[in-house]
Symmetry: D3
Subunit: 238 residues, 6 copies
């Protein structure tokens, strides 16, 4: 039995709100149950030094958690003067995920930065960030098309992410915080709209897991991502 | 004529939403027109080293701006590894303002941290932070009373803040970003519910200002703070 | 009764010594009683990146306190690896004050940095820094004129600063350390030679202050600045 | 055809040299072809603050790369003043992997730090670090047993790691640098001696990968880890 | 011929002014010609962690250079967020020199910090720091004796330092900046009042130097230190 | 009697292994008894900003110690976020020593960085670094000659370094760790192949030393360096 009474293969309620703030070229609030992440896309008309003159663009991501997004206050990274290893790991993951579905040459010599800031955390913030940031990225590229700066949107496919895990012996989809902090295996799967796997990160927190368990978990994740892609489509259609 | 068509003594629409997030002891979204700041209050049952064993509590504040809260993206302080001078100045101001209306001895040996994070900026973020943080602080203290940890709320009076300035030669109340970036004098006034001045910071961006101008500006601010205190009361009554 | 036996409207002895060190384009030791600040002006023939090619100059300030300028040794900021919020707040204030009285276009594409280093502290170091730095700035500009690099001194007016406050219930001018650490209200006022207000920063350390108190304090400050401007004139005439 | 002429399922030559340096409680040089990592285990008789008094030990890891371990010199992290996100990601991975096979309660209130320093890099440094660090950890625990500080070695099983990937369309085992920098999918698999999966991290550098490809890759990795575990056993028996 | 017209074995004018500032337990301005260093000694009634409970005290030093102590402004270390290698090297040298002549056991469990801040630089600032800091240290210990905290001054002997070098082929004593920046060999010698060598640091900036040259340089330094010790004695007697 | 049973004028066994790693232009493992330092030379085809366009090259050095190179683990500088003063002092020394024997103009506008990383420490790491780095530097320059980028090797002479000291009252050559941590005087001498002194750094850890002792120590060092230069020659001839 899951603490939230959800079925093993049931996602939390997903809500994707576009135009949550007004300055960014793409601005999306994504909610997965009580997890809420603000994802903004900012377009800059230049690229980082290592790409100058190479005729292609770049997509990168930064991730942050408001100090009191969590049950107990965590210290502010800006005040401590450095980002934790966890933060850096997550923002690298988000960047890789998004770059896997955009044609960087078609983007031209510009950079899009996705800022994913967690306003409230209840597990699964890195997956929600990827799913929400994709919408913000798509929106920002659309504005470049509308402004006549690009002939077509260079985003080639959807990308979304979901966590799965083994909780009290059973495989479950979309772990919330109570599950996440008490599970045996935790796996994040990033997939495209076409169903290709872009990234898989599975960790045994307790007992090692087996090939069979892994297979069931990826099945669950595939199901979850399919729902998330549908939610992205609805959000863009709205 | 103000860009927003407001009267010289007209505040922007003020909205104070309590319980905006669920983990913090106090959580308030304050909106002054398009400026939106999330203020959370976090209670910790200990005090910083310099106060240990002194039989009193402490109230402190931290301030941050999401990278794309502004028209163009500003770099993330956590990524740069340090807070700007502006950020430090603002968080020191918020802390002083709140400490002026709370009985720290009555609070006991605990610390309350107010995190003010700007989700969207359109001028006046430090004033909005003070006004919103006061509500979050009050709420957090109320919970301590409800939990039987304090006999009475140690917050003795309201405190709120507003900016005033001389824009195109005329004194105006509550500057928004277009006014703020093009005014001659910019003044932030922090006042209590009883009308006492807690802090005044006036800066001539262009021409120096006179005693008379200063007097008119403080009148306007007094009016503005009165409205803000009423908004705080409504929010608490809701 | 003031600890120093001064009258409420009496400044400490002001001494401004030019050419205190030999390398800087302007070098001034200012003493306000036991407070001693070394202010040097350094001219560089280029401007910071944000001003390049804009046809104007820049004036900026840095502030430091020697570790044992104070009663007990404070740790060295260079050793800790960062400047405190207080230091940053003060150096921003000094920079703004000086920029308010210089014609940056007339200065041309060069930068003048004012270093204000406190050799001995007895209250009022930020105000002494502004008053002393103005002399160093003027002197540095004069050398540019003498060297034929500028047709006329771009400094348009004096600027000086003084603290006022409410000590044991009475308004007093030019707080020294014993007063500063035990006063109800502390206000720093920056004014031009013509009497315009450039910056006012008032803080209630204890009880909030009233409009009437504020008015008396600004009167006292006006008086104080007038004396300081005279001291600046004497120093330049010497 | 692989650049190294190896068969798709062929590991590079593995060499594990114990007692490579003399001060550490465990000191192992692991070589996977031209990749060489020095892994040392250091025992300290206390635990980090978050574990004090909890009756258990801790195992953690740090990772570094000598500036010229690589084809072109990379800058020294100590000189830059911070570790890259990649470094932090790797050292977190090594720590998790090792903790998965040690009984931390049986270790008692002591910490073992595994330092993995890459002397020469040719791909697969994080996997080599895990495989080598396990030997150093085992050795350090053995010394605690010999010294009578522990009744039995708390390491419960082997753990080793290997990279697999899709290179020029074909699944291959143990990527070297030329393969790693030109592959479509790169996957690191951490497994125990009993064959359980502890961690799996797969990333599509180019095209997304399929369930079937993933399955073949995990088969290859299982084979590779089996060889590595045998190499660990030989090294301990030597 | 030396730029300053001095004889090869002639020191610059030495001036040691005690009580230059009022808060420190020892406060000395030392001038070697145009080089001016403020040396303060601060006594704290505890020792650094590595000495706690060992029944002895500690003497340490910090060194800084005001940004415009030099011909062209150098950037402020506090603003850059770190001390240069040169600064660290010098403060380590000053600390070692002073510790060589004090009985740390007799000092008891307290620490004396010597802050050496260069107000104006014209070569030889590290040597002047040592010579001046010794006087400040002696003075601070004397106050501990006068306060009844120590039975006798734990400083056992004088220590002073001087630079020597080979300038235009000739050995000279006490290099000033024009000589220092254009010499072949630069040597700093730290000696006790009894004539023992505490530290010698010689560097060939151009051609390597010979045993014979080294011998002549140490002779010159011995002479110089003898004069400096006399100056220290006069300062203490004043 | 020395702990190692060596004669007072006996070096530890010196071993210089070239091509210890494969990527660097010069790669040398130097062993002085149990002290082992990996020295690599990296050539870059540009110079640091302060030398651009000056028609000369630059040689610089960085130094590091693996955390468990020592008896007890020391913390990793990259993790702490800064290099110690000792590290900076050593790397500055290595750089100066090498620059003293290379014709920087003949090197052309390129920079060679010597990375000296201590794999195992038993005293004398800075001296071993200089002696080993010289071989790596020579080798890297040789490769530039072989590649036709330089007409001749710009290294003009050997340079090597050795420590000497007064241990239990007697002058000894090449201190190992047990001697180094218990000696009265410790001196590092850097000399050229021609016998010129490039750098001498002597420190009295206990009693000050005399002119006579200094003379004996330099004699010993001269002897030691002669052996080291021979070892460098053998290594290059191999």
């Amino acid at each position: 039995m899951r603490p939230s009474q959800r079925q093993p293969d049931q996602l939390r309620t997903v809500r994707i709100t576009r135009n949550f703030t007004r300055h960014a070229e793409g601005s999306v609030l994504i909610e997965m149950g009580d997890t809420r992440v603000l994802c903004t896309a900012s377009v800059e008309e230049n690229v980082p030094p290592f790409l100058r003159g190479k005729g292609q663009g770049w997509v990168t991501a930064e991730y942050g958690m408001l100090p009191r997004a969590t049950h107990t206050r965590s210290s502010r990274e800006a005040a401590k003067g450095k980002q934790t290893g966890r933060t850096q790991e997550i923002q690298r993951l988000i960047g890789r995920a998004l770059r896997s579905v955009i044609d960087l040459k078609a983007l031209g010599e510009r950079q899009i930065t996705l800022d994913c800031d967690v306003l409230q955390a209840d597990g699964g913030t890195r997956c929600a960030s990827i799913t929400g940031a994709w919408v913000a990225l798509y929106e920002a590229c659309d504005k470049l098309v509308q402004a006549g700066k690009l002939p077509a949107n260079p985003v080639r496919d959807h990308v979304a992410a979901i966590s799965v895990g083994i909780y009290k012996g059973a495989p479950v989809l979309d772990l919330d915080y109570p599950e996440d902090s008490d599970c045996d295996t935790d796996m994040n799967v990033v997939m495209t709209g076409a169903g290709g796997i872009v990234e898989i990160q599975g960790t045994a927190e307790g007992e090692p897991f087996t090939r069979e368990q892994m297979s069931v978990l990826v099945d669950l994740a595939t199901l979850g991502v399919r729902h998330l892609v549908a939610a992205q489509q609805s959000a863009l259609a709205a």
